[in-house]
């Protein structure tokens, strides 16, 4: 979404008109869902967190600095929402996200595709299990970097930590993930 279009939509939303919020929700929903799924591990909790975060963001638009992009501000709300949900429900990251189809629509239809899909599915299940063992703050930095593809500056602003801490947290998170995958029997160099 063009920044000026986004600013205009936010300005209209601030006046209380919810219909201008729909394009914003639809624009940030796919990225938000990936973040929430990465944080929560299952679609029910992820959708709850996403929905609550969009409502909170709308209600807090008065405090939003319109000179900045909506995305990082919203992801900060979403990340806090995921953490609150995990804490409040005393629930834990629970893997239920791997299915037979892919979110990004990359489906394998070539020869021996079933075999390839099965081994890819196994590898993904292993990765999710590895992520499950990480501490929430390690998992969130991995999700923001690897699943969201954000720059260090953006991650730093979402997590409210210096960029240097992002780098060091990423190191420890990747190290912990590698150890977890080793323990699960995955072979890495």
């Amino acid at each position: 979404m063009q920044p000026e279009v986004e600013r205009e939509l936010v300005r209209k939303c601030r006046a209380g008109d919810t219909k201008f919020y729909e394009p914003i929700v639809r624009a940030y929903e796919p990225q938000g869902l990936r973040l929430a799924l990465g944080m929560m591990g299952n679609s029910d909790d992820a959708r709850d967190a996403l929905q609550e975060a969009f409502v909170k963001a709308f209600q807090s638009l008065g405090r939003f600095d319109t000179t900045k992009a909506f995305g990082p501000w919203f992801f900060q709300i979403l990340r806090n929402q995921c953490r609150d949900l995990l804490r409040r429900r005393k629930s834990r990251f629970q893997v239920e996200v791997v299915g037979d189809g892919l979110l990004d629509g990359r489906r394998d239809t070539g020869p021996r595709s079933a075999e390839r899909s099965r081994s890819r599915g196994e590898a993904q299940r292993l990765l999710w299990r590895g992520l499950e063992t990480l501490q929430p703050e390690q998992r969130e930095v991995i999700v923001l970097k690897e699943l969201q593809g954000l720059r260090y500056q953006e991650i730093a602003s979402i997590l409210e930590i210096p960029e240097g801490t992002v780098a060091s947290r990423l190191y420890h998170a990747r190290r912990a993930l590698k150890d977890a995958l080793d323990a699960l029997g995955a072979t890495y160099p």
Partner: protein, 142 residues
Amino acid sequence: MSDREVTHETLMRYLDGELPPEERRAVEARAEHSTELRRELTLYRALHEDLAGLSFDRRTARESVWGQVNRRLARPIGWLLLAAGTVAWLVYAVYTFVSSEAPPWEKLGTGAVVIGILILLASVIYERYREILTDPYRHVER
């Protein structure tokens, strides 16, 4: 940089494309002479590739959350309109009732019934509110 260790932070910045070209070249030069560094780079690149290919169940993204969000945002307006309408009707009803030509005993009797119902309703709501505050299972969801 080539004559000292590559720190964890620098290593991550290198892998994630966050280093300026000069520092990138320094890490690459260092990697040429360090088997350990090359092994680490291979490991983290493999992890990065696997994580980049991570996918989700497509059923998750089937339905947008906009419907629920919109309902949640519209709900306060609904409550506000309901409350305002109810107050307006009550004021009109009380005015009509008080200014009617019904005998005083009829007005007193009807008034007592209405006030009694309101008191009972308010006490039940208050009791339920107090129970919610101390209910140990209030965070348990179906």
